[in-house]
Amino acid sequence: MRAFAALVHREFIEHRGAFLVGPLILVAVLFGATILAFTVGRVDARFSGQVFTVAPLRVYEVGFLAFGAGWSLYLISTLFFYSADGFAADKRNNAMLFWKSMPQSDFKVLLSKFVAALTILPGVVYAVALLSGILLFGVAFATTLINGTGSVGFLGQIAIIYGQVALAILAVVACGLLWYMPFIALVGALATLVGRWAIPIAALLPALLSTLEWVTLGGFHPFATHVWGFLEQRLALPDTPYAEAWLVSAEPFSGWAFTLDLIAGIDWMQVVLGGVFALVVIFAASEYRRRGNDN
């Protein structure tokens, strides 16, 4: 277990640029831009819009949720590139010879990459997202204090909002990772075989499979097949009626209600099948790596 944890940690060391340094730079740039926007009057520092008159705390909820959505998109794209690159990274600079001189199986090494993609790497991005939320709240709170729309008495409510939104973002990240787990594993396994070519191949694979079904079994057109329909369903996160209802209401956001709604909407049988599929493709990739001599 200690060895496995160390292998997961080395993935973080190898990819901290994309999952820690990059996001921190992004936060710094955004924070700087926000300060600058207020300073030069690009943003209405008086918060004179109607929404702030009706629900002055809405800016915290909407702002942090928007940040959460942005960070989720960042995470999805970096995890895709991580899977396509990280699983093949040991081939670079002859490093495969070093890793193969270690008493760790190829399956354990690839599994550590997969586990890193589900734990430490998104965990770091989530931590940076929380930091960006704190900075956002700090700027917004300072501004409301200056323009007189807020008061120190709001602090307790702001902290609750922060906790609720942080919980919702955590739920989206955790459920999203579980839901997209087989795709992460598939791209990683492809990368073990073909290196960075896994990026275009992963994008082309659904179209190829769907076309193959259309050619062999028939259908209206290549994208009106069972394969395409399944992938469309499998690639979309479930709808959350709570979020849709909350957006048009004046109620405070409840992270707990959102989380329960999200969990209830997930097809957990698909998650279990996806987990099994992920383990199978990673094992197959590890056998390829064990038998190959890409030194």
Binding site: A6, E14, N93, L97, K100, S101, P103, N295
Partner: protein, 304 residues
């Protein structure tokens, strides 16, 4: 068991490496043509051959990096099937820098402490004392020589039974190469450890070898203890044309003229017989290598 493998044996100790009928193909081309050899413990072996002779393929077979026909056992295990387990007791340095470049030295030691049960970070740090390598340095910023020093420190800090070095000093200057091998001998070698080295700079490692294996076109053409090499092969410098003619009657395995002197190498000819023809000596490994690479086989009975 043929002469090759018998000559390599010492006592009744179980061999560290044992190969029988080892063959390897890449497509239609056969790279290894059925190698048979045993490597006993506590020895320092030199595996010597031309580029493309099959040295690295043989090492890869021992290290479980490639599958082969025939049988190979390292420490009693099939290396291809049990590579991960085997690597607890086998360490190797390849002919190219392979350390993970994205890490710092201290991160590498911390990782190895956790993933290798026989790695000692204290030993590794001790081996680096007196070098310019610092724990905070990134491996990608190290020079080629420093990288080799670090890799040597890493493998010497692993309590392994077999250490395999595939051209470990390739591209390094002479000072560093000499220091590298001296350190290996003084700080690492014990009776329980076996060392297998391949290099083109054979003269630099000759002093430390206990056994040699010459490989040519995928076949072992010589596998002997160094003492046997000294007894078996004789080099004679023959100046007189009449003596040269007489010496040729004893079938030298190699003959060349250097600076006006004719040098002949004989295999298995009594030194007393050769004494009258000129000055006798034992050929260096490089001379022997050049000599044996040019004749059909040094051990005809085993190479068939």
């Amino acid at each position: 068991m043929n002469e090759l493998s018998t000559l390599g044996q010492t006592g009744d100790l179980a061999p560290i490496v044992s190969a029988r009928g080892l063959r390897k193909r890449f497509g239609r081309k056969e790279i290894l043509h059925g190698l048979d050899f045993d490597i006993p413990p506590g020895r320092i072996y030199g595996l010597i051959g031309h580029n493309g002779a099959g040295k690295t393929t043989t090492l890869n077979a021992m290290l479980g990096l490639t599958s082969c026909e025939g049988t190979i056992r390292v420490l009693g295990e099939d290396p291809f099937a049990k590579r991960a387990k085997l690597m607890e007791n086998v360490a190797f340095i390849s002919d190219v820098a392979s350390l993970p470049r994205f890490m710092r030295v201290r991160e590498l030691f911390a990782l190895l402490t956790n993933i290798h049960p026989n790695f000692s970070p204290e030993k590794a740090r001790a081996f680096l004392e007196g070098t310019d390598i610092r724990p905070e340095m990134k491996i990608k910023h190290l020079s080629k020589g420093m990288m080799a020093q670090l890799h040597l420190a890493v493998v010497m800090a692993i309590d392994a039974k077999l250490l395999v070095l595939d051209e470990p000093t390739l591209g390094l200057d002479i000072t560093y190469r000499k220091r590298f091998y001296r350190r290996l001998l003084e700080d690492y070698m014990t009776e329980e450890r076996t060392l297998l080295i391949t290099t083109h700079q054979v003269d630099e490692i000759e002093f430390m070898l206990s056994d040699i294996m010459f490989i040519r076109d995928g076949e072992l053409i010589l596998h002997m203890q160094m003492e046997t090499v000294n007894d078996k092969f004789t080099q004679v410098v023959v100046n007189d044309p009449a003596d040269q003619q007489a010496a040729r009657a004893h079938n030298p395995v190699y003959e060349e003229t250097r600076f006006g002197q004719t040098v002949m190498i004989f295999d298995g000819v009594d030194r007393a017989v050769l004494e009258p023809f000129g000055k006798l000596s034992t050929p260096t490994l490089s001379d022997l290598f050049v000599a044996l690479m040019q004749r059909p086989t040094a051990n005809p009975e085993s190479a068939e």
